[in-house]
Subunit: 271 residues, 2 copies
């Protein structure tokens, strides 16, 4: 029953990050640091509630989301989050946020979890921010504006390094087909961080091979950031990734260095 002894640094944010995203990301990092300081790994993993999205809420999620809700109220933005659902603070601006992406990693101390969020004006995502908690590395993007980091530019699956969701019941065949076709695979269990590795060109793609695990907050930061870095962010079955308040919607997200690579991933998964 040990605690995680490693520090959570301040997010490394550039000056042009929207203040509402910056404030919530900083609040999330501070809350996660405090949570690791106060609670054992087992305590952080404990399920303490059922989230608004229908999945169990771990203590680490609850602690970080509470801090985010306070920060969102302070800046006067609405909040759409996986545990609390929609919190209406009477604004045209809504922060759509995954407080802790990779909750199981964050709880037990696998150093792969992040804050991910987007600022939505009315129904339009205009800016995104992802912060890797264990290093403070941050990736931000504004919709329709190119980022300084770029995807690898790879167009074919042969020779590709990809991240994948772990195989789930019913997707094993598609999973193994994709694993065979790619050169190297990884499973990091944190979609938001894995899609940022696609955006910065460290891996060529990320795929959920059909398990329909993703909610809007798992994909919305990538939806802004990956195309801004030259890549593509799609749903496996072509369902539109649009903002709404219904947290029961699910997608199988595909992030790829290029639209051509996304197409080949989809064809390979669908067999």
């Amino acid at each position: 029953m040990t605690k995680n002894p490693w520090p959570v640094p301040e997010p490394q944010l550039t000056a042009d990050v929207h203040p509402a995203l910056a404030a919530t990301a900083r609040a999330a990092a501070r809350a996660y640091q405090e949570a690791r300081h106060l609670h054992t790994r087992a305590e952080l993993r404990e399920e303490v509630a059922d989230g608004a999205d229908g999945t169990p809420t771990m203590r680490v999620d609850a602690i970080v989301e509470f801090a985010i809700a306070e920060a969102a109220a302070h800046v006067g933005a609405n909040l759409l989050s996986e545990e609390a659902g929609f919190v209406d603070n009477g604004s045209a601006a809504t922060l759509v946020i995954d407080p802790v992406d990779g909750s199981a990693n964050a709880a037990t101390g696998v150093p792969l979890s992040c804050f991910a969020g987007a600022l939505v004006i009315d129904t339009q995502p205009v800016e995104a921010l992802t912060v890797w908690f264990d290093t403070g590395r941050a990736w931000s993007a504004k919709a329709g504006q190119p980022t300084s980091f770029r995807t690898s530019g790879r167009t074919r699956l042969k020779g590709a390094s990809i991240c994948m969701m772990r195989p789930k019941r019913g997707t094993e065949d598609a999973w193994m087909r994709l694993a065979d076709a790619a050169d190297r695979i990884r499973i990091l269990c944190t979609t938001c961080l894995e899609t940022m590795l696609v955006a910065e060109g460290a891996v060529d793609a990320f795929a959920d091979p059909g398990s329909d695990t993703h909610r809007l907050m798992d994909l919305i930061a990538a939806l802004v950031t990956v195309p801004a870095a030259g890549g593509a962010l799609l749903d496996l079955h072509g369902r539109p990734l649009t903002f709404d308040l219904d947290l029961s919607r699910r997608w199988s997200g595909i992030a790829a260095a290029t639209p051509a690579l996304a197409d080949e991933l989809i064809t390979t998964i669908l067999g």
Copy 2:
């Protein structure tokens, strides 16, 4: 063809780390930082030679190993390393080192790669050090002495979070059997870092389900560190993990929080 813009910090070493291990780890981190500064991701991945262990040497491996060989000569220890093989500096002390564990990650910028090494006196590993390059986090251990960090203590596979090698041809069935039996799986593609996550209790186990990928330098740091943290480090087929200069030897390493969990992993893999 981008470069990796993130810094490689100084290793966070405690005062009791053996000077020869400390010097080589620091040399490795500095060399990797410089390599990321000077070369694109594609250049770092390029295969520039065949290593003494029979596998291709990427540029990133060659650069870091060169720095390690200099440091080993400077402190007067022999070196056994995957690319150079055995370098006899006339000492009873030999540094057995994996200069860059997770070379493919290190080259392309997946932030999961590390230095891992052990100090061997005659044929006995007496101390080990592992340093995660992207954060400077370090795990050290002396043979037979308990470490401050501890494994999770888990004894059963049901409910376990484990890291695995990626499935390779011929091991797919064993791989999927293990993935089904565990609660959560990850593939980080860096054995030395994954075994340290077992040692500190972040995951319950790591397994190569029979691909015989591991060389001595992939496992020797874990061989000292994981038992010192309360866990077990074994070969799938019970082959002894002993020091010698023959780099053609291979193992399928199993690291687990407890001997009981290691046994269940082995039984599950062997079917």
